[in-house]
Symmetry: C2
Subunit: 450 residues, 2 copies
């Protein structure tokens, strides 16, 4: 009988996170202030603990994972690596398809990998409260869980369109003791400003970030936690790719191509960076970031300095961006509705080490249903993006007869996204054209540097 799951024992949870900066061809471009000068670590001290700021700027290859963090990882890690036998058979492809399943975490996605680490460092620094934003709710619920496990209060600004589409993600956050507000809200200056311009704003990750940062910056006992984009967040997620490497080693396989959904980049970076170390050393492997056509940051954005949030509160980051005030269409993959991207992923894409493709919403749900009907697991809409790209690649292999090893990160389950599946079956889901005009307008408002 063919092996379906490749497991690791919990003693095989990696002892260190992997920092891709050590293996990048060029050092990362520094974040800049509005004056065009590099921003020092001090500027972040109002909202982040020192340990995370150090990780944010570190060039060390290996960063040790604290024992209390690894202890909590044991609640669900190591995550299983699956061979998708049934999907391969359904597609009739000679490709061998593998996926890492991060939906085994209590919050149902890869997000707790960094939430737990961030809650730990904040508690160690004496912080009592955390604020954050969330799109589809995957990140907010992960931070709610992590806050509860480390005794921190958590307030979540949830993008309004997701707040309405996914009421049970809110219930989940309540069960873990967090408070949840729809964003834009009237609680913050940033929220009020957006609502003044558009009282019916569906919100966006950028706006919610502005609100959460504003609150954290204004209170001494409160810090901010971000679910993606920043270097330290991607760092924590590298536990995914490291585990996967060991799992592939166990069965004597190595992927020819890796696919992961890419919004802010933590999912993609988490699974791809540990393999990028091999690529930097000359090994042939494709690393493919998959994004929605409705928010095509890497495939249609500019590589430029821009704000990480919608209002312009953060330092400027050199990244692919659709403009910080671009509000993506309300697709169900809320976690991918971000105007920018991780500076690390952006730079690696700019330097040609990372590929990107964009896929339309309907095709992603078709792929997700196909997957559920062969492999059982119901994937999150974000994960459906990777599945869609993998199925396309597997069908190309079928045509060419190539027996490639394809690997993707099944970043989460869709148990809280069933309304999206309902809409799909009811024929109510739309594909959004590239919103070229809106993007062009936003790009015209990119900040002038220096």
């Amino acid at each position: 009988m063919p092996q379906t799951k490749i497991l690791l024992d919990e003693n095989e949870i990696p002892s260190h996170w992997y920092n891709v900066v050590a293996d990048m061809p060029n050092p990362p471009a520094p974040p800049l202030g509005p004056d065009g000068k590099p921003v020092g670590p001090d500027a972040l001290a109002a909202i982040f603990p020192e340990a995370l700021i150090e990780q944010e700027v570190s060039a060390e290859r290996w960063i040790p994972i604290p024992e209390p963090v690894r202890e909590i990882y044991r609640l669900w890690r190591p995550a299983p690596l699956y061979r998708a036998h049934r999907l391969e058979e359904a597609l009739g492809t000679p490709a061998r398809i593998y996926y890492k399943y991060e939906g085994v975490s209590p919050a149902g996605s890869h997000k707790p990998n960094t939430a737990v680490a961030q809650a730990y460092y904040n508690r160690e620094a004496g912080i009592k409260r955390l604020t954050t934003e969330t799109g589809a709710g995957q990140w907010g619920s992960s931070l709610a869980l992590a806050g509860q496990l480390f005794g921190l209060e958590v307030r979540v600004y949830m993008v309004r369109v997701s707040y309405e589409q996914k009421p049970f993600r809110r219930s989940m956050m309540h069960t873990w003791g967090a408070e949840v507000l729809a964003s834009p809200s009237e609680r913050t200056e940033a929220g009020r400003r957006i609502l003044a311009g558009d009282p019916d704003s569906p919100g966006s990750l950028g706006i919610a970030i502005s609100e959460a940062v504003e609150e954290a910056a204004s209170r001494d006992d409160t810090n901010y936690a971000l679910g993606s984009v920043l270097n330290h967040v991607l760092l924590h997620q590298t536990i995914i790719g490291q585990e996967a490497k060991r799992q592939f080693e166990k069965i004597g396989e190595y992927p020819d191509a890796i696919f992961a959904p890419c919004g802010g980049g933590s999912n993609f970076g988490g699974v791809a960076f540990p393999f990028l170390a091999d690529k930097a050393a000359g090994r042939e492997i494709r690393l493919v970031a998959v994004e929605p056509t409705s928010c095509p940051t890497l495939t249609k954005g500019h590589y430029a300095y821009d704000f990480g949030d919608a209002i312009g509160m953060t330092p400027l980051l050199l990244m692919y961006t659709l403009g910080h005030d671009f509000v993506p269409p309300g697709i169900h993959a809320g976690g991918l509705r971000y105007h920018g991207d991780s500076a690390l992923v952006s730079q690696l894409h700019h330097e040609g080490l990372v590929e990107a493709v964009a896929v339309p919403q309907l095709a992603t749900f078709e792929a997700g249903v196909r997957f559920a009907r062969s492999e059982g697991i119901l994937p999150a809409p974000e994960s459906n993006h990777a599945i869609c790209a993998v199925i396309e690649e597997a069908l190309r292999c079928k045509e060419s007869g190539e027996s490639r090893v394809l690997f993707f990160n099944l970043s989460g389950h869709g148990h809280f996204d069933m309304a999206a599946y309902d809409s799909f079956f009811a024929g109510e889901l739309e594909d959004f054209d590239y919103p070229e005009e809106a993007i062009e307008e936003s790009l015209a408002r990119l900040p002038k540097v220096g």
Copy 2:
């Protein structure tokens, strides 16, 4: 660092199911027809394939698990055994608490263990369609999944109160290709009869069973699949307890007491029966079935011959019953709203080998939230019953200073039950008094045998 999860490799999936009949002090009481005479296997042939009928009446200790069934088990089995370190610490108990987590299946509960087996045997027998009932939706979604994996059409009659409380369970069944109807429905004679008496009937498992059986009996290409109660269903679930025994062996532990929710009995029987073999051989171990105070079958019912369904279509089974026409209050643990109980569990309870306790709804949700906030996992309302009883026992151990080993089956996650948690937090959940009068009235209508 203390071990949190005890895993087995997928090659350690048991090769046989365990049949408790071989170790019972007395042979099981036979099902009877309305004439009071034992019903032969033939009477079941209209709705079940021969292989399952054989299992229903078998006295063999070990029944081999077919390879295609074990192949599908590999998608999530063996399920992990957890040590609840954090819960123990939160309770300050010297007890060691373990739980088997069945929520790792794609449908989120233990139910696919038998759904997959039943779908397989029906496909082998040339059947094209299956009908079934579902309460909370755990069983219906499991059969939808299993039907999809073996290419069978599935129609699910879903108890109306759950159909309304849990719309996303329906979406899940749709995603796996099944059709879902609210029960009582106008599609069947049984449904129409109930609706004539009470157009607002919230439904019950008993009513939904009547509908599904009626349809299966009337079509040659269609069989019926039951999610609990019957001997073959409990048989398939013994994979849980068998895995748990191996896992305990690996760490040199053995439970002093086992707790599982008990509605129709498959959850309880699945985890407890393999240990009952040891108990029958003289080993000291408590086996505790936990039921809701609003539907207290084992603790308040009569041990008598009664119908398995609400209308009187099934053979008579000797079991603890609240009367086949008793409609339990609409608690959120829909899977426990059954008037009767497995004949095997009932007989073992009657003979003193199995204990039973009843717990009220509010206490179960308090226990579930406590669990979620220490262990992370959000449990299903049914599972909260076991958690509630275990916490009470752990607190007794704290008083007495006893370092007992307590083990429970965490039969499923609560991702589709968040509306129930919302009601709990909003203070809207009720405890139901024992509905003594309704039960007495139903018991007065027990069928006369012979």
